[in-house]
Amino acid sequence: MSALQIKKGSSKHSAYNLRPTFSDVQEAHTITVLVENEPGVLARVIGLFSGRGYNIDSLTVAEVDHEGHLSRITIVTTGTPQVIEQIKAQLGRIVSVRDVHDLTAEGSSVERELALMKVNGSGDKRVEALRLADIFRAQVVDSTLESFIFQLTGAPDKIDAFADLMRPLGLVQVARTGVAALSRGTS
């Protein structure tokens, strides 16, 4: 009955047709945001991500300059190049945001994360876990006769790899801090 010849693939009941005209390749980017350390600033940043439907893979925040009231938020996010550009532009609009840097796009950077992993087990598995921990330079920070807690720092993929190895050896709990990152060099 509809008089409108609407093409296949376009939405029939809405005026919105937001088929992307941009590339649809998904990229992971580490974005670091320097913000004024005031109440609610984290909520502004997180609210932006949830409100506009962006992804957060990891997020860390801490004060970095007490006198200047500045905190650094490091966000790892995934999206198309256009979405990543939008995320940066939208972050830049927030009044309490001083500075936005895309470490992935701006040359090489150092990314580190800290993880705590509890591994339960006995016998060979326990010995193997300890051996692997040594290879990964993980430290034992708590131990019982049937468990270890390992502390490991490194790039996220190193931590992923360690967790994969520990899983068959009795990994029961993981706590990760999320990524902290800085660009390399003097800038």
Binding site: M1, L4, S11, A15, N17, R19, T21, G40, Q90, V95
Partner: protein
């Protein structure tokens, strides 16, 4: 302290509604005469009135509301102002600091609720910060891409006294948006203008927000280059409707010639508009062959939905000034021959006369009503506000705007109930001016309580209601897209608008015969006081032209007799 800071910011009017948590500020207001307080009848209306005030003056509008329900009622207005980039400051009361978080009476997490619908907001916990936060708030609201801000002030902070921080001479803080555009890109744009064969200016609300100087510069540039210009709903008035290069509004209900020119152009110069979905239609078919330049003060608007070839971040006024300078310095060149051909094409499109409608001798057609309103108010410095729906689109199509700041409408959010309180705000700002709210009966009822405000302050706002006893735009979509199943889209149990006006102590006029329309409109215009004009119009008129959902600009539905076919399903007129 609050009133002092407002005075220093040049505020002369506050729209508000008192309540427990703002009584100390109301007490201050009572004891002075520099700032007038307009008592609205609902907090949403306070914010819309502040928007109307701001949009019609270019100044920052101010609203004052109490905690809890006062603040939550303000949310629609804040969101509306955010979407349309209107600079307003909303002051809200809050329960005392020591009670925050205790679910106190009329407590709400106002900064939490309003965080996504303001440009920025503050909860002031210390009186020592209060005045500097207010000054900062005005700076943030008005600079860069304007927008609403909110300051939440707990009652104990209002009571306490502290040293007053005067208004800083230069804006302080780190919020200093870029206003000057990149000269290299501006030069590249001028080069593109010099050689373009089918250029078009596509302007938006950013030109209005940039101030009267920007509109002036735009006019100069358009006249000098001879390039056609179209505008979004929000940008009407920046270039005069009587100007020879004017194509009319573009977009979903824009003019045929404007949309076809956008589709067929080879250089699109977007000035202060944001490629809204009502403008672009189907994205992958939006103006496929054009190079696109985009001037916007908000970097996040650029490349958001449409990929731009020449992005220029800056204030429209500054960039236009530089563009003109560069263009003149390079010898005022345009591709005259190609431009003449382009105009011939556009004139052909104009011949379609897309606004043609079938008039009637027995029923008032809404288009006819607006044509008569236009004719009878022509030459007067007239301010128009609208509600949202068919009447809004007809007003944009049939009324001509010669100057900026004369057209107040809810564009981005599409807030029914915006127009009446907005007209109140405009009239307060311009007491002598003719202010007309073009409304639909359904939208108008959403904030009809403001009749009390209009009558109390003797604001002679004219409520021109195109009454089709339908939610016209909803009905139109149901007809075209939902098999003519008119689910909840008629207005039943409507009041007698004449009696309603009289009940409020205002004048009511009803008109249903086209022959009486002129006299009735003149009666409305000549009455010194608020008027409700109940204009009973054709009930099933559709708003055309229309770009249907998911279609590009060159697939417009035209109106009039051709529409009958579309409605009957005998084949839509797709051009």
């Amino acid at each position: 302290m609050v009133v002092q800071a407002l005075k220093d910011q040049g505020v002369d009017t506050v729209f508000g509604y008192p309540g427990g948590a703002v009584l100390p500020i109301y007490d201050e207001i009572f004891q002075q005469n520099d700032i007038q307080h307009i008592l609205v009848r609902h907090e949403q209306a306070a914010v819309h009135a502040a928007e109307g005030y701001a949009r019609s003056t270019g100044k920052v509008g101010v609203a004052l509301v109490t905690s809890g329900p006062g603040a939550t009622n303000a949310v629609t207005g804040l969101t509306d102002a955010l979407m349309d980039s209107i600079p307003i400051v909303v002051l809200s009361g809050q329960v005392p600091t020591f009670m925050i978080g205790s679910d106190a009476f009329q407590e709400a997490d106002t900064v939490g609720i309003t965080r996504p619908c303001t440009k920025h907001n503050w909860l002031v916990k210390d009186t020592a910060d209060l005045s500097s936060v207010i000054h900062q708030a005005f700076h943030v609201a008005a600079s860069g891409r304007p927008g609403p801000v909110l300051i939440d002030i707990p009652k104990d902070v209002q009571f306490a006294s502290s040293e007053y921080t005067p208004k800083p001479k230069a804006p302080v803080g780190h919020y200093q948006p870029q206003v000057k555009g990149d000269m290299e890109t501006i030069t590249a744009l001028v080069e593109a203008i010099e050689t373009a064969e089918r250029p078009i200016f596509y302007t938006g609300g950013g030109v209005i927000n940039s101030g009267p100087a920007a509109s002036q510069l735009l006019r100069e540039l358009v006249e000098a280059t001879g390039i056609p210009i179209t505008s979004t709903l929000m940008g009407l008035g920046a270039y005069p409707a009587s100007g020879k290069n004017w194509l009319g509004m573009l977009g979903m209900h824009g003019l045929y010639e404007a949309n076809l020119a956008m589709h067929g152009c080879d250089l699109m110069i977007n000035i202060g508009a944001r490629f809204d979905d009502r403008i672009t239609g189907r994205l992958d078919a939006f103006s496929p062959k054009s190079k696109k330049a985009h001037i916007d003060i908000d970097p996040s608007s650029i490349n958001k939905v449409i990929k731009t070839d020449l992005p220029i971040v800056g204030d429209v006024g500054h960039v236009l000034e530089d563009m003109l300078k560069v263009w003149k310095a390079r010898g005022r060149k345009v591709n005259r021959e190609a431009l003449a051909k382009w105009w011939r094409q556009i004139d052909e499109w104009k011949q379609v006369k897309c606004l043609t409608y079938k008039n009637s001798e027995t029923t008032i057609k809404p288009q006819y009503a607006l044509e008569r309103l236009e004719a009878l108010t022509k030459g007067r410095d007239r301010y128009i506000t609208t509600e949202v729906g068919q009447h809004q689109m007809w007003a944009a199509q049939f009324l001509g705007f010669e100057d900026p700041n004369r057209w107040m409408t809810s564009g981005g959010l599409g807030t029914m109930g915006y127009g009446f309180p907005s007209s109140v705000g405009v009239q307060v700002a311009h007491p002598e001016a003719l202010v007309i709210n073009v409304a639909g009966e359904a939208s108008w009822l959403m904030n009809m309580q403001e009749m009390g405000t209009a009558v109390q302050y003797r604001l002679p706002v004219k409520q021109f209601i195109l009454n089709n006893e339908r939610l016209g735009m909803v009905r139109q979509w149901q007809q075209l897209l939902h098999g003519e199943r008119y689910s909840s889209s008629w207005s039943e149990a409507l009041p007698d608008f004449v009696k309603l006006a009289e009940a409020f102590g205002a004048k009511g006029i009803i008109c249903k015969d086209p022959a009486d329309l002129d006299d009735a409109i003149m009666e409305m215009l000549n009455h010194d006081g608020p008027v409700i004009f109940d204009c009973l119009v054709e009930k099933h008129e559709n708003c055309f032209p229309m770009i249907p959902s998911g279609e590009p600009h060159n697939k417009m539905l035209l109106g009039d007799a051709k529409a009958t076919n579309a409605i009957a399903g005998k084949g839509a007129v797709l051009v």
